[in-house]
């Protein structure tokens, strides 16, 4: 389809601006005024609406169909939450208003903090981080501040991370000014405890792990890991990307973790929005509370006399990690989601885990299972044998799934599993949906033997066929260039002629 810039016709417009007779027209000082107008599209509202709609029609969301993207927790997004976030009393309040004039907002945030304390089993919460990876960086800076306060920051320079970790973990470690030390995975998919013991010492500031891990497996040696880490005076960081498996079942605080980030867009249903926004609050043990970002939301008094306020008087705080007090609209949605469940959040996790195990049981004979255990809320299988015997890769399976009407799972992650397909159904799906998807996966495996070309040619049913990603990386076209815009198809034709 055309770009909106290609639909632009000079003189058209949608939005208009009021004009007031007699209003001053201040001049822009010389040299500061715009010389050439920005080439925004010139389009009237009807065609702007159609353009957006046409784009939507070329996209796939949870609302469209099953979206088992591992490690992303693509669950249902209740629409009441959208309606609530758009209430004037939430959407049209300014963050610099007086505390007296935003008591409802502050109370909602305080209540969400209390819920997250309970769900994680920890003592204090900062809602401020903008997303999971910012939660990681914030948590690491809190750990650094704690060690600096104890005079140990210069000594403790290392963070240990298992080789199954999300890429955000090592990236966050470096941005926090720490060094990464890698830990191996053992034959059952757990952290290799002997390797951990050998690498943890006086230079260790902490450990970052996801539990259940990115393999969808619960860390069976969590108690031993806790003893090694705390025995060395180090801290434990919990990457909460997989918290959907264990709400009400097992709490990071009870596992021994000192810092946790919670992905509100995963576990607590903030819509993913094609890539965001998210929310990444962190919860910490009491000893780290003084170092949390400021301001904190606190409550003075109780009951009818309760007053909620922002506490900026936190001398040991690491400071601010983003503007204001965090993504409030995200808090409204996640708070609303949790209030629909209450203590029944446990049923949510139970359904997520049952759905995943059911799918694993149905698929285990047709695909390789690298770690033969019960899984938690997601599982990793491999197309290794399909590739070896029929040349059909994890990518081919993923693309063929599109023709069956599904969004593919996460592929080629975690890195320790070749040809990985990481499947996370979430609690939202009905048994019929899981069965239909599994039927498709089994059919694709059969087809790989009988007609491997079918998977290689997929997808056939999407707006575009497989893309030339090499071309995108070499011939960088990152914006529309109007009259100078290249015609890639013509270039390709010329090159092959």
């Amino acid at each position: 389809m055309q770009l909106i810039y290609e639909k632009s016709v000079p003189g058209r417009r949608a939005g208009t601006v009021p004009a007031y007779a007699g209003l001053a027209k201040p001049a822009v000082p010389a040299g500061l005024g715009r010389a050439a107008a920005p080439r925004l599209p010139e389009i009237a509202e009807p065609d702007l609406v159609r353009h957006i709609t046409a784009l939507a029609n070329r996209n796939f969301g949870i609302d469209t169909g099953f979206y088992p993207l591992g490690s992303c927790t693509m669950k249902h997004n209740p629409r009441l939450n959208e309606r609530a976030a758009n209430l004037p009393g939430f959407a049209n309040i300014h963050p610099a208003q007086s505390e007296e004039s935003v008591q409802g907002a502050l109370e909602l945030m305080w209540r969400l903090q209390e819920i997250l304390r309970e769900v994680t089993g920890l003592d204090a919460v900062s809602l401020q981080p903008a997303a999971g990876s910012q939660g990681e960086l914030t948590g690491l800076l809190v750990m650094r501040a704690y060690f600096a306060d104890r005079g140990e920051d210069e000594l403790r320079r290392e963070i240990v991370i298992p080789d199954t970790a999300h890429g955000t973990n090592p990236a966050s470690v470096v941005m926090a000014g720490y060094e990464v030390v890698g830990i191996k995975t053992d034959a059952r998919g757990n952290v290799d405890v002997d390797d951990l013991r050998a690498k943890v010492g006086p230079r260790t500031a902490g450990l970052m792990i996801t539990n259940p891990s990115t393999l969808g497996l619960f860390e069976e040696n969590i108690h031993e890991i806790e003893q090694i880490m705390h025995g060395a005076g180090a801290l434990m960081y919990y990457d909460g990307a997989n918290l959907n498996a264990v709400c009400g079942v097992s709490r990071p605080g009870d596992m021994g973790f000192d810092v946790v980030h919670i992905n509100l867009h995963k576990t607590f249903s903030q819509p993913h929005g094609g890539g965001g926004p998210g929310g990444g609050p962190i919860a910490v043990r009491g000893l780290l509370d003084p170092f949390l970002p400021k301001p904190q939301i606190v409550r003075d008094g109780e009951g009818a006399g309760a007053f909620y306020r922002l506490d900026r008087d936190r001398p040991k705080s690491i400071g601010k990690v983003r503007g204001w007090t965090g993504p409030f609209g995200v808090f409204v949605r996640s708070y609303a989601f949790i209030r629909r469940y209450g203590p029944g959040l446990r049923e949510m996790s139970e359904a997520a885990v049952l759905n995943a195990n059911y799918m694993l049981a149905r698929l285990r004979d047709a695909y390789d299972v690298p770690y033969d255990r019960l899984c938690m809320h997601e599982f990793v299988i491999s197309a290794r044998t399909l590739k070896k015997e029929h040349g059909v890769t994890a990518t081919d399976v993923a693309k063929r799934l599109m023709d069956f009407g599904y969004h593919p799972p996460t592929v080629y992650f975690p890195l320790v599993v070749p040809e990985a397909l990481m499947i996370e159904p979430t609690e939202s799906e009905a048994k019929e949906t899981l069965d239909a998807f599994c039927d498709a996966m089994l059919e694709i495996a059969r087809e790989a033997a009988s007609d491997p070309a079918a998977a290689k040619a997929a997808p056939l049913t999407r707006p575009v066929r497989r893309l030339d990603e090499v071309l995108a990386a070499k011939r960088l076209v990152l914006r529309y260039a109007f009259a100078d815009h290249p015609d890639l198809a013509a270039e390709r034709a010329a090159a092959s002629a």
């Binding site: 080629y412 990603e469 090499v470 995108a472 990386a473 070499k474």
Partner: protein, 131 residues
Amino acid sequence: MAAAESYPDGLLYHPEHDWALIEGDEAVLGITWFAQDALGEIVHYEAPDVGAAIGMGEAYGEVESVKAVSDLISPLSGVVLEVNEKATGEPETINEEPYGAGWLIRVRLTDPTEIARLLSPETYRAHVAAE
């Protein structure tokens, strides 16, 4: 068009899949067929600056495919004399001719005794077969 697998005689090899062609007190460096094959089609070559000092076994640059990045490990210590502009401009040359037009840098050796520690073609071929 990717090249066929080969590990020519006349070159010396580093176990991280790099080769060196020794020319007096200078050497030409590149990556082996095995390295370019493992990476897939190369879309970017991040070269060092001319004049930079590089150390044996250390990274001096990067090559990237669409979905992977690989450090370039120097088989020898030296000072960079020249960067292959053809490889930076058309990085697919590294796939097509890893030992020819797809060479990466020319260096002046700072410790020629290191040459003795490199692998012979025969030893390197055995190393690749074991991977």
